[in-house]
Symmetry: C2
Subunit: 350 residues, 2 copies
């Protein structure tokens, strides 16, 4: 025998059983389709019908099942976040931001760390997107900079928002973080304190963020007539250890600079270590500026002046762009960095 359903016209709801669209339709005397229209904010419903049905929904605590909607829509209510090993605070802030935008909606956040250097990673993201029929994905640097990844997503018709230091192309939805401007502000600050012998420890030049921070910093110096000699510019790897190695070159032999700007806080912590070990006093003998304004910046002693990225805002904006109605979709948004001044800089000693 087929399973039977309790669909007699006025059968009350089974207690403890969540209401479905069928219950709402039956008890309010309209068709499922009309209920569906109300769920989906269709204008094709008379106002009094809408109100009557909505009142019943509220009374029964009805919420449409996202799994059923997803199956019918062929698209889930999940937003993916794809990233390749950024610092923990950055990724957590990005998650909090995205969740800010998703709160109160039916959307949830699914995380997908990956390794952009591993050969199968694009295929891994494709499976992730297609299996779960994701509504869209947020691409965090450095994954966001990978053109091959973006092409794959375009090809399978997956919405995405890129987060990037600068606009990467004409077409894709992007939250631009303007790293160039943040670095320029650091340069202006050091110049305003009177520094002239300045050094720069950059992230890997293959990262757009590193490139933007470097050129933003150097161009700001050049606007004030200062051009750094090549030996004052060292490329490192955005890691603490690489910051230590770079700082050793700058501080342990020959004449040392009076100020150092590093492409992130991790490398700045490396500079601190070398400076402390060498007995240098920060900021009296050496001024330092980092980039990220991570928790580390305020934990170090003396506390580190650093460029603050509005990471949570960035994540919120990226998620909001993905869930807004198709037509109205904003293609780009901007988030501006600014310098958080603490205790690691002062005018150079004469």
């Amino acid at each position: 025998m087929p399973r039977k359903k309790a669909d007699s016209p006025n059968a009350p709801l089974a207690p403890g059983q969540a209401a479905t669209i069928n219950d709402i339709a039956r008890l309010s005397g309209v068709s499922k389709k009309t209920v569906s229209r109300i769920i989906n904010d269709s204008p094709l419903v008379r106002q009094d019908t809408r109100e009557k049905v909505q009142a019943l929904m509220k009374e029964l605590g009805y919420a449409p099942d996202p799994l059923a909607r997803a199956l019918a829509f062929r698209r889930s209510f999940l937003i993916g976040m794809v990233y390749d090993n950024p610092t923990a605070q950055y990724i957590v802030d990005m998650q909090y931001g995205a969740l800010d935008a998703l709160r109160g909606t039916s959307f949830e956040l699914v995380v997908h760390p990956c390794d952009t250097r591993s050969p199968g990673y694009i295929e891994g993201v494709r499976r992730f997107v297609q299996q779960q029929k994701l509504h869209g994905v947020i691409l965090v640097p450095r994954a966001s900079e990978d053109q091959a990844l973006v092409e794959m997503l375009d090809q399978i018709g997956c919405r995405f928002t890129r987060i990037a230091a600068l606009p990467l192309d004409e077409t894709s939805a992007t939250v631009v973080t303007h790293d160039r401007d943040g670095a320029a502000e650091a340069a202006d600050y050091l110049l305003s304190l009177g520094h002239r012998d300045i050094a720069l420890i950059t992230g890997p030049s293959a990262y757009r963020s590193a490139h933007e921070r470097t050129s933003g910093f150097l161009e700001a110096l050049e606007r004030r007539g200062l051009r750094l000699p090549p030996e004052r510019i060292i490329e490192a790897g955005y890691t603490f250890e690489s910051g230590v190695a770079a700082a050793e070159k700058l501080l342990l032999g020959g004449q040392r600079p009076t100020a150092i700007f590093t492409g992130n806080d991790e490398m700045a912590a490396g500079v601190y270590k070398v400076a402390m070990r060498a007995g240098l006093t920060i900021p009296r003998q050496l001024s330092i500026i980092g980039y990220d304004d991570s928790p580390l910046a305020s934990r170090l002693w003396p506390s580190l002046t650093s460029v603050r990225r509005q990471t949570r805002d960035t994540g919120r904006t990226a998620a909001a762009m993905l869930i807004q109605p198709e037509g109205s979709a904003l293609r780009t948004a901007s988030v501006r960095p600014h310098l958080a001044v603490r205790d690691s800089c002062q005018p150079p000693e004469l």
Copy 2:
């Protein structure tokens, strides 16, 4: 007219269209039900049938749709992670660990930060679980310690795994992190270096982790005949700022201890700040041990000796417990902490 389906017996697959269970059934000449049995590893399928169908699945790159399965099962393939504001590295490590266990399965990880002090948070978790029909949730401290949360989950029949410093009850699945043992190892190490005037900065006593670390530390000292006077024990809030305040009490007036153990690395960084500001040399004049082995521990100078929690292992184990077949379910697992020795301790000056 009703929508028509391409279901002629040997219709080839539409190109670019993913295969469904209907395609597999039709092309391999069995019923959907048999294909379903194979998907779900039922023993009730003849071996040759199974092999024939599996070969076709592989050829067509078929993967069952988790959304459709979820709708039919009334349970999704999503694992939730519920947490209340731990440090970024801890939560990211926990996520990586959980994802390690989910890799290669159909499960994905959905994150749910919350505020256990806000009145509606349990209701928020309930909505999260019921709306998405989560397969199960991982409860991270401090959320894992909330009995009201656990009772709600039991009541709605949601699987969960708690992560906790010690077993919290007889029944719930738990990954036990044995914080007591980690703190005891820190105590033994300080004693072995010859310290006798030792101070302790604890986390909030309402946290089980703080309680366990405190009593593990004190009991290890007592086993060696040392009992700390009350003024050597200060309760703080697990934050950097509260560590600063506690360290000021210990270091700036009267006789200072020769060693301090803090309930986490954040508070240890606060001790560093106060010590540096006061011109004390670590570890010559003051030995310090933290708890967490966060990245901060190696970024500080001198690098901080700290108790390492195997957070990634913890997350992996918790997720694995949730996705294993019902019957075989392990109820508890253990992860052991151990001391990571760095440069922040030495024998006391005479």
